[in-house]
């Protein structure tokens, strides 16, 4: 009990030391809790593709835990350093080290309880607040952010582990030092860090591996699995980079006497070098958080804003009907049923297309192999259809073909299917009245060939590969503009028909004995699809904004923490400097140049990280059907600009706090 009293008194008395530590602990807890809350929210399951997304969030949680551990150890060591003098005094006044260790463990235990209680309460409030705020901002959404005891439980366990680690660190540090060392530890200086080539090399290798993984991602699903590993490599690479590279840079600056012995550089370089190890952790943390903010916001904003463009490319007219039958029969049926129901088919377009062959395309050779990391879907179109759609005449002889790589690219001049090879006569970048994007998450290639007969063997092979006993027939797509009610009526009327490739289309009541085989015509409507995509992308945007907000909060905390803790350290230095003859204007300048470096470095590194992550993001987004490079680039740049602006404001505010501390 005595120790409990002593520990709680310690915390209350040296509040200025414990407060920054407690603050960082609570905010780290809060950040983890927010992700966990989203992860365990029941409404997550309403998102399409939620499995992948939950996996991503889970990985995010792991990354953030590692991150929290690094940061907590960093800020605890800082606290410990300031506390050792007190511990040394206890020791000299007669407390055994074992007892001192017990006190510090009790202190940590109390901090842990405070963290969990305050963190949970704040978490619930923040979740509710963010939810209401975002509902207000982006409108009603089916995603509901609910408080879950499971999330709190898991994050609490994670933090219990982190605190256990801190207790071990504290006990070790107390036992390792003699009482005199304890007494002097706080004032003890640090040797200037050595620049270690191995660390630099390791850092660069880690970053290279992380970047390489990001660059070589071939498909969305691949991106998911590689994402995590790449992120880990980049985190540790960043840390090592700051530890080694910045020390190397500063040392070089110091060697250059004419540069170093200038008032501005002198103080900045020496004081940054002095605490570069500490700085490295802080800068790495800021960089990673800023990168995470960029990535989450750019992904979700990009996804949300690409919906309209995607739909415009996919829908040539507002309603699309697909029938598994030949073109003349299909058009005849639709026109007949439409007329019977008094529905006008405005701007009617129809075209015939082979069914999609899904497989891999490598060096111009197509294989009926479903490799998830590299999918291409191929459709054939006859020259006749193309001419009718575009009004242009083309002259295709023998096995000549025109290629339209709608999604992805085609480099080769030949495309081989089994033992049939097409000579690519030309490549085109669009077909009039034809969609330029498909709903499947893969590359999309359209080949215009001279006639249907040529590709029968290829279709037969594909059927065999798919294990389908039937021959694959062509499909007809009819697009037209019509009102919603007309579309509904037409759909109901058409739902009784069954189309089955080359066989005639039949009505289900035509044959009393058996229902005809085949499939009814399928409908796709712009408005339906728009609503559907909006609600699902809205869900992601919602989560993205919550995460982005959380990350920015974390960044703000770390910067604040850095400024405050360094301000306390620098207070004395600036006093001395002013006594020796540094004017307050020069103090301001010095601080500004330090702040500038610390401000720009993380942003610059984060932008480089993001550049590589961008490729992954693009793949991840195409998981949901969209791949619009230009738009994504635009939204990403916008996001970076906004986040950088917020970051700048945070920096301005916190450096004011720093200035207030060091100013006499």
């Amino acid at each position: 009990m005595f120790y409990v009293k002593l520990a709680s008194r310690n915390i209350r008395q040296s509040m200025s030391n414990f407060l920054p530590f407690g603050l960082s602990s609570v905010v780290m807890f809060l950040m983890n809790l927010m992700i966990a809350t989203i992860l365990f929210s029941p409404s997550l399951k309403k998102l399409p593709g939620w499995g992948n997304f939950a996996m991503l969030l889970g990985l995010g949680l792991i990354v953030l835990t590692i991150f929290a551990t690094i940061f907590m150890v960093y800020s605890y060591r800082f606290l410990l350093k300031r506390r050792t003098k007190e511990f040394g005094l206890y020791n000299i006044l007669g407390l055994k080290k074992r007892h001192i260790a017990r006190i510090s463990i009790l202190e940590l235990l109390m901090m842990f309880l405070v963290t969990v209680v305050i963190g949970t309460i704040l978490g619930i409030i923040l979740a509710k607040f963010l939810y209401l705020f975002l509902i207000h901002l982006v409108g009603e959404n089916y995603f509901d952010l609910q408080w879950s005891p499971l999330a709190v439980g898991i994050v609490t366990i994670m933090f219990a582990c982190i605190y256990l680690l801190l207790m071990i660190i504290s006990s070790c540090s107390i036992h390792r030092h003699s009482s005199l060392e304890l007494l002097h530890n706080a004032s003890k200086g640090e040797k200037e860090p050595k620049s270690r080539g191995i660390l630099a090399l390791l850092g660069i290798i880690f970053l290279a591996i992380g970047y390489y993984l990001a660059l070589t991602v071939a498909s969305p699903l691949d991106a998911l699995t590689k994402f995590f590993i790449a992120v880990l490599f980049v985190i540790f690479g960043t840390l090592l980079f700051y530890m080694s590279f910045t020390i190397w840079l500063l040392k070089r600056q110091k060697k250059n006497q004419h540069y170093y012995y200038q008032p501005k550089h002198f103080i900045t370089v020496s004081s940054m070098l002095y605490r570069m190890k500490q700085n490295a952790v802080g800068l790495a943390n800021i960089t990673i958080l800023v990168t995470m903010t960029f990535v989450t916001l750019a992904t979700t904003v990009g996804l949300f804003s690409s919906i309209n463009g995607f739909l415009d490319d996919h829908f040539v007219r507002n309603t699309t009907i697909t029938i598994h039958a030949t073109e003349p029969r299909s058009t005849a049926l639709i026109e007949q049923v439409a007329e019977k129901n008094g529905i006008p088919l405005k701007n009617e377009i129809s075209y015939e297309l082979s069914p999609s062959l899904i497989g891999t395309m490598k060096d111009g050779t197509f294989k009926n192999k479903q490799n998830l990391s590299d999918l291409t879907s191929v459709n054939f179109m006859t020259a006749k259809t193309y001419e009718r759609l575009t009004g242009r005449t083309i002259n295709l002889k023998g096995s000549e073909a025109i290629a339209y790589p709608a999604v992805g690219s085609l480099i080769e001049n030949k495309v081989t299917f089994g033992n049939h090879t097409f000579e690519i006569k030309s490549k085109i970048s669009g077909i009039r009245n034809f969609p330029s994007i498909s709903m499947t998450a893969s590359n999309w290639l359209i080949l215009i060939v001279s006639n249907k007969e040529q590709i029968q063997p290829i279709l037969a092979d594909a059927a065999k590969a798919m294990g389908s006993p039937n021959k694959l027939g062509f499909e007809t797509t009819i697009s037209a503009d019509m009102t919603t009610t007309d579309a509904k009526t037409l759909q109901t009327a058409l739902s009784d028909y069954r189309a089955n490739g080359d066989k005639p289309i039949r009505h289900i009541n035509q044959d009393k004995k058996s229902t005809p085989e085949g499939m009814p015509p399928t409908f796709e409507r712009y408005d339906d699809m728009h609503e559907q995509l909006l609600s699902f992308a809205g869900g992601f945007l919602f989560i993205g904004l919550i995460l982005g907000f959380t990350f920015i909060l974390g960044t703000a905390l770390i910067i604040y923490y850095k400024q405050i803790s360094e301000g306390e350290q620098d207070k004395r230095s600036f006093e001395i400097l002013q006594e020796v003859g540094l004017s307050s204007e020069e103090v301001r300048q010095t601080i500004r140049s330090q702040v500038l470096l610390v401000f720009f470095m993380p942003i610059a590194v984060a932008i480089v990280h993001f550049g590589f992550a961008f490729i992954m993001i693009q793949k991840l987004i195409s998981l949901f059907g969209t791949t619009r490079f230009g738009l994504l680039l635009l939204t990403s740049t916008g996001t970076i600009a906004v986040v950088a602006a917020i970051y700048y404001i945070i920096y301005k505010q916190t450096s004011r706090a720093y200035y207030r501390i060091v100013e006499r």
């Binding site: 040797k191 002198f266 001395i576 400097l577 020796v580 204007e585 020069e586």
Partner: protein
């Protein structure tokens, strides 16, 4: 030649929240000749540090003037003060005030760097100074690796490297043991013999006995002075101790 003249100096502290005033200095008058070594002695709370801080332009007096080489330092504008200190004054503090972030060499260079001096000039000056202060071997170390006496010698080097008109020292031996104090005082005496004017405040009779002249301060007033003349330090110390006991009614070690 007259270097420093202090006229009717007064300093009143008034805390923001209470009406109570503390008169730290009242009607302080004295002058310092070029090349003098003056000790200002007084008991704790007598106003020594306040006086020194006022001379050092770290603090503004309530009234009165401090004239250094014909310029009234109390009239210098706030934004020119740092520059003035850097160019005309050297400081030695009780707790050394070295920067942990800088090596010993860079700590000494500090005022010159702030004054944008050329690297070559800095090195020339240090080369001359280091052997005199016996710190030539310490230049590449960090301050935390030094003993108290070594630190104070480094601080003296930093004070002297600007070749100041006046060196101000606040209890420079207070944090040192007897042996280190002795050698430091001998060092300061030697520096004074090369023509450097030094003004030191202290409550130690031993420290004061190394000066050429001792001013006594009590309750913010200078009320007595002693000249050392040609006497040995030990002999002079006897007189200082006696003066303290008789006039101030305090025992001095």
């Amino acid at each position: 030649m007259m270097l420093l003249q202090v006229n009717h100096l007064q300093k009143i502290f008034q805390t923001r929240f209470s009406k109570e005033k503390t008169i730290a200095l009242q009607d302080v008058n004295f002058s310092v000749e070029d090349g003098e070594y003056i000790a200002i002695m007084g008991e704790s709370g007598s106003g020594k540090t306040t006086l020194l801080n006022t001379l050092a332009t770290l603090d503004k007096p309530t009234s009165g003037s401090v004239i250094l080489n014909g310029h009234d330092v109390t009239k210098i504008k706030e934004n020119k003060l740092a520059e003035f200190r850097r160019e005309h004054l050297g400081f030695i503090f009780q707790d050394f005030n070295l920067l942990d972030t800088l090596s010993v060499r860079d700590n000494i260079f500090l005022p010159l760097v702030l004054g944008r001096q050329k690297v070559r000039v800095m090195e020339q000056r240090l080369e001359k100074l280091a052997p005199k202060l016996n710190i030539a071997d310490l230049l590449n170390k960090q301050p935390f690796e030094l003993s108290g006496g070594q630190k104070q010698r480094v601080a003296i080097a930093r004070a002297l490297i600007t070749e100041p008109e006046l060196v101000l020292a606040d209890e420079p031996t207070a944090a040192l043991d007897f042996k280190n104090s002795e050698s430091l005082l001998a060092l300061l005496e030697g520096i004074n013999e090369t023509g450097q004017t030094i003004l030191m405040v202290t409550h130690s009779a031993i420290a004061a006995s190394h000066a050429k002249r001792v001013l006594f301060i009590k309750d913010g007033r200078i009320f007595h002075q002693l000249y050392r003349a040609k006497r040995e330090a030990a002999e002079f110390m006897q007189e200082i101790s006696m003066t303290m006991t008789n006039l101030l009614g305090t025992e001095v070690r």
